[in-house]
């Protein structure tokens, strides 16, 4: 269409979403950066300096001189922030590993099913993703309560003798994250496993290669792009996760999403919340760039 006439249509199709995203995604990111260099104030909005477009160039210079890196040095000095970042990275890394271990057999099973079953199984994995995130986390609160079904099942099986407090622990957070993010891991894995050519496995078998060895030498390397895509698709949002640790985790060691939330909503310290967000973005720039790279390569390969 673009190569033809219709320059007007092309112009609209590019410009409208471009402007929308620039205004509501790019500009807000720059605003966070600016706020993170400001200072808290008891005012509305609760930070200074506030740039007034009416004051012109002199005002702009004054505005620039009002900015400072004070919030970033505060982040570095107080160990609460550092331990929140580390905790988030740890939770994200461990849950991504668990997701890979649980997701791989599931995706592999789907990819080995026959055509009609495959479509149904994919739908079954996606369906929970369409139901509310909050509902899925809430379901686990009921199950993991001290007098909940999980404890009663374990007691009935004789695995534990007295109820265990599962809620407000890291275990509960891991369960919640693995449960909520499983579709994000299974789908990219399935997409790459689906493209593993059966004839490669047959050739290996014909040449006397054992099944598990063929699996390690052929299937696993070919599914690596899917595994990396799935891992990034889970790791990145989990680092900034708020709802799951807030509802299932303990309040003694917070993840960075919770720390940001508290600074913003409870302490009303907008500049420090901005600085937390900027540092979080810097931490995540590597993984996000990796995700972009895989995606761009995927598109070219198609």
């Amino acid at each position: 269409m673009a190569r033809r006439q219709n320059a007007g249509g092309t112009f609209v199709v590019v410009l409208v979403p471009y402007l929308w995203l620039a205004a509501l995604f790019l500009v807000p990111c720059l605003i966070i950066l600016k706020i993170s260099l400001s200072q808290t104030a008891i005012a509305q909005p609760p930070y200074t300096p506030v740039y007034d477009f009416a004051v012109g160039w002199a005002g702009f210079k004054e505005f620039i001189s009002g900015l400072s890196f004070q919030n970033y040095s505060a982040l570095a000095q107080d160990t609460i922030y550092l331990s929140s970042y580390l905790k988030s990275l740890q939770v994200a890394a461990v849950s991504t590993a668990i997701l890979l271990v649980i997701g791989y057999p599931l995706a592999y099973g789907i990819s080995r099913a026959t055509g009609r079953w495959q479509a149904l199984l994919v739908l079954l994995v996606i369906l929970p993703f369409w139901t509310s995130f909050l509902i899925r986390v809430y379901a686990w609160i009921t199950i993991l309560q001290t007098d909940g079904l999980f404890n009663r099942a374990l007691q009935a099986l004789g695995i534990i003798s007295a109820p265990v407090a599962w809620l407000a622990s890291d275990t509960a957070v891991y369960i919640g994250i693995v449960y909520s993010y499983l579709p994000f891991m299974v789908l990219p894995l399935y997409a790459s496993l689906q493209h593993v050519d059966d004839s490669l496995l047959e050739a290996a078998a014909d040449l006397g290669c054992r099944r598990w060895k063929a699996f390690w030498k052929i299937t696993v390397p070919l599914s690596l792009p899917g595994a990396i895509a799935g891992a990034l698709l889970c790791f990145i949002p989990v680092v900034g996760e708020f709802v799951i640790p807030d509802l299932l985790g303990s309040s003694s060691s917070m993840m960075i999403g919770q720390t940001l939330w508290t600074e913003f909503f409870s302490n009303k310290d907008w500049p420090i919340a901005g600085a937390i967000a900027i540092v979080l973005l810097i931490v995540l720039v590597g993984p996000i760039a990796g995700f972009e790279f895989i995606r761009a390569r995927d598109l070219k390969g198609r």
Binding site: G9, V16, L21, G109, L134, Y179, F265
Partner: protein
């Protein structure tokens, strides 16, 4: 024929049980007569009746559905345009930035998206409420629509469109009579995904909302923080059923139009 091994069947059964058991338990317990969420007191619909009388919940549901519908319509329009720009317009200035802005929000932690949009609305001195949440949801969900529609457009044979234009069909008409019908399953799937993502969102809505615009997730979240209540099980069951019906309807519609396309479309 592929051999389905015992191991595959077991891992599928365990995986699906893990995905569905918690939701199943939630649904069963919403029909529990006992006020205690953990004690079974026989079947009852009392929590659903109580729900019907709860004006605050009804109002929150109404607001959530209006926001979800409005933002899904806007996101479908914007996302489809963005998909056309990515799939049909060759090179243009700033394409890399454009595609980064489409894909980054998909993985961006919600707290950052929410905070950044709130700061924008404060800087613009806008009154926060229905429209700010709608705009925020549109921004996030249009990216999902763009990705779904773009993958569908990429798989469509362009020669059909070119044939139409070679035969003298004007571009806009070609778009409406050729491109839109073939991309329709993906556009519908994009709309539904946008709708359900908006209905689902807690974090971004909490940042961007204002007085008088308490959405259903915000409402549920504040209830859940106070403790588990059987009414919440009932709301959750209603929401899960609504979503399940929507997805089943969508897949039936899609089966009537094009089976292959939907699989690609529903799986983001």
């Amino acid at each position: 024929m592929r051999r389905v091994s015992f191991f595959n069947v077991v891992s599928l059964a365990l995986g699906l049980a893990f995905l569905y058991l918690p939701i199943g338990i939630l649904i069963v317990y919403s029909f529990n007569a006992s006020r205690l969420v953990t004690v079974w007191g026989g079947w009852s619909v009392r929590w659903y009746l109580q729900l019907l009388e709860d004006a605050a919940i009804r109002e929150a549901a109404r607001i959530s559905i209006s926001i979800a519908f409005t933002s899904a319509v806007a996101a479908t329009a914007l996302g489809t345009m963005a998909a056309l720009a990515l799939a049909r317009v060759g090179r243009f200035r700033g394409r890399t930035l454009f595609s980064a802005m489409i894909y980054a929000p998909l993985v961006m932690p919600e707290v950052i998206t929410g905070l950044s949009l709130l700061l924008l609305f404060v800087a613009l001195n806008l009154d926060r409420g229905f429209w700010t949440v709608t705009a925020a949801h549109t921004t996030l969900t249009m990216c999902f629509v763009a990705v779904i529609v773009q993958s569908r457009l990429a798989s469509i044979d362009r020669s059909i469109e070119e044939a139409a234009m070679d035969l003298g069909c004007p571009p806009l008409r070609t778009f409406l009579t050729v491109t839109v019908p073939v991309a329709a399953p993906a556009i519908v799937a994009g709309f539904l995904l946008a709708f359900s993502l908006s209905l689902d969102d807690l974090v971004i809505a909490t940042f961007t909302t204002g007085p008088g615009a308490t959405t259903l997730p915000i409402r549920i979240y504040s209830d859940v923080r106070l403790g588990v209540k059987p009414e919440i099980n009932a709301i959750c069951t209603v929401m899960v059923s609504a979503v399940a019906l929507m997805v089943i309807a969508a897949s039936l519609v899609a089966r009537l139009t094009d089976t292959r396309a939907t699989k690609a479309a529903i799986a983001p």
